[in-house]
């Protein structure tokens, strides 16, 4: 039974579209509302017990602009599968899969950090969905295509650094 047949059997009943992938990986597109159900079935019925990554592709200025991608790995069948769904809007949101594969926790946090995609119901050891790499009070999402490479506020990180450092300096030299 090929990867595609196994996946089709597991996803019977869901609206499914097969996309071409340059590397030959089976690449399926589902509706954004079905992602969680599809992932659960692929894990339980098709043997994809591991999630390699969750990421997004920004197709700005197309709308819907984000293509959320899930790369799955089946160790028992020695094959991979890619799943994608399109979401858009000013506050894009999609269901979490972090409770299906704990390994997706970091991936979803990074995806939120870089693209601003809300993963609904996300729970990890850090609690609710939080930024992973950028400062927690950072207002922008750097990997979006409409984000300028120098940043929207180029001096923001410098100012934060300077303020933090200056406060520390004053604290350490308070007795002098």
């Amino acid at each position: 039974m090929s990867t595609l047949e196994r996946a089709r059997a597991a996803l019977a009943g869901l609206e499914l579209q097969e996309l071409p992938a340059r590397d030959g990986t089976v690449f399926l597109q589902v509706a954004a509302a079905d992602v969680r159900e599809a992932c659960r079935r692929l894990r339980d019925a098709a043997g994809f017990e591991s999630n390699t990554f969750v990421t997004a592709i920004d197709r700005y200025p197309a709308e819907p602009r984000f293509q959320v991608c899930y790369q799955l790995l089946s160790v028992q069948h020695n094959d991979r599968l890619r799943l994608c769904a399109w979401i858009g809007g000013e506050r894009p949101r999609i269901d979490t899969v972090a409770d299906l594969w704990p390994g997706a926790q970091y991936a979803e946090r990074e995806c939120y950090d870089m693209f601003g995609i809300q993963f609904l119901g996300h729970q990890s050891e850090a609690g609710e969905l939080k930024r992973l790499l950028m400062p927690e009070d950072y207002d922008h999402f750097p990997l979006r295509k409409d984000f300028p490479h120098q940043g929207i506020e180029p001096d923001k990180l410098y100012n934060e650094w300077f303020q933090r450092r200056f406060q520390r300096h004053e604290r350490e030299h308070a007795d002098v």
């Binding site: 990180l157 450092r165 030299h173």
Partner: protein, 204 residues
């Protein structure tokens, strides 16, 4: 330097060398630079090559790389400094005992280089005083050795004794415990909220 005081009676019967104290101190300093290698990316590999036997930094007395900033007097910032690393970099600098010098190795640490980016420090001179900048991506070990020789020439021109006798706090002028606010002038300043005016100097 507490033991450096004028000799009351020199015993002229014995051999002795006459020199200026400044020159003696500078000679000692410039020939025993202990680098603190802060290898942040590919420049770190060239730095290792420089310290290794082929380029042999020991010829210039600077091969004793220590990984504790408390034992070093030359900070070599080798590679891309991100804002997340800036705090650590400045802490390392502050932990180094005076006198101390800084080499910005490679274009990334000199000016941000090709990382004209929101996440990268656009030159370590935004957060540290830098003595020598080395261009290159990464620079050849020869170029960094040249930088060390230039730094040695710079150290020769210093006047540590005069500074000491004038009662100046050695911290001042050498960079530690001072902050010079230098916002990112390479980019447009629209939207930035200044904490202090550009160029404000804050002394303890």
């Amino acid at each position: 330097m507490g033991s450096l005081r004028p000799v009351e009676e020199a015993n002229v019967q014995q051999d002795f060398l006459a020199t200026r104290v400044d020159e003696l101190i500078n000679w000692g300093r410039k020939n025993s630079l202990w680098p603190m290698p802060l290898g942040l990316s590919c420049c770190g590999i060239e730095l290792m090559a420089m310290i290794g036997p082929k380029f042999d930094l020991a010829r210039f007395g600077a091969e004793a790389a220590r990984f504790s900033p408390r034992q070093c007097d030359l900070l070599v910032v080798a590679g891309t400094l991100t804002w997340k690393m800036a705090e650590a970099c400045r802490t390392i600098y502050d932990q180094m005992p005076d006198p101390k010098w800084v080499i910005a190795m490679g274009v990334c640490s000199s000016s941000g280089g090709m990382y004209d980016s929101y996440s990268v420090v656009q030159g370590v001179d935004m957060i540290l005083p830098v003595d020598v900048y080395v261009p290159g991506c990464p620079p050849r070990p020869d170029a960094v050795i040249d930088a060390i020789m230039k730094l040695q020439k710079k150290i020769e021109r210093e006047q540590p004794l005069r500074l000491r006798l004038s009662g100046a706090n050695l911290d001042h002028g050498l960079g530690s415990n001072t902050f010079v606010r230098a916002p990112n002038t390479a980019v447009a300043t629209h939207g930035s909220h200044d904490v202090l005016a550009a160029g404000d100097r804050i002394l303890p």
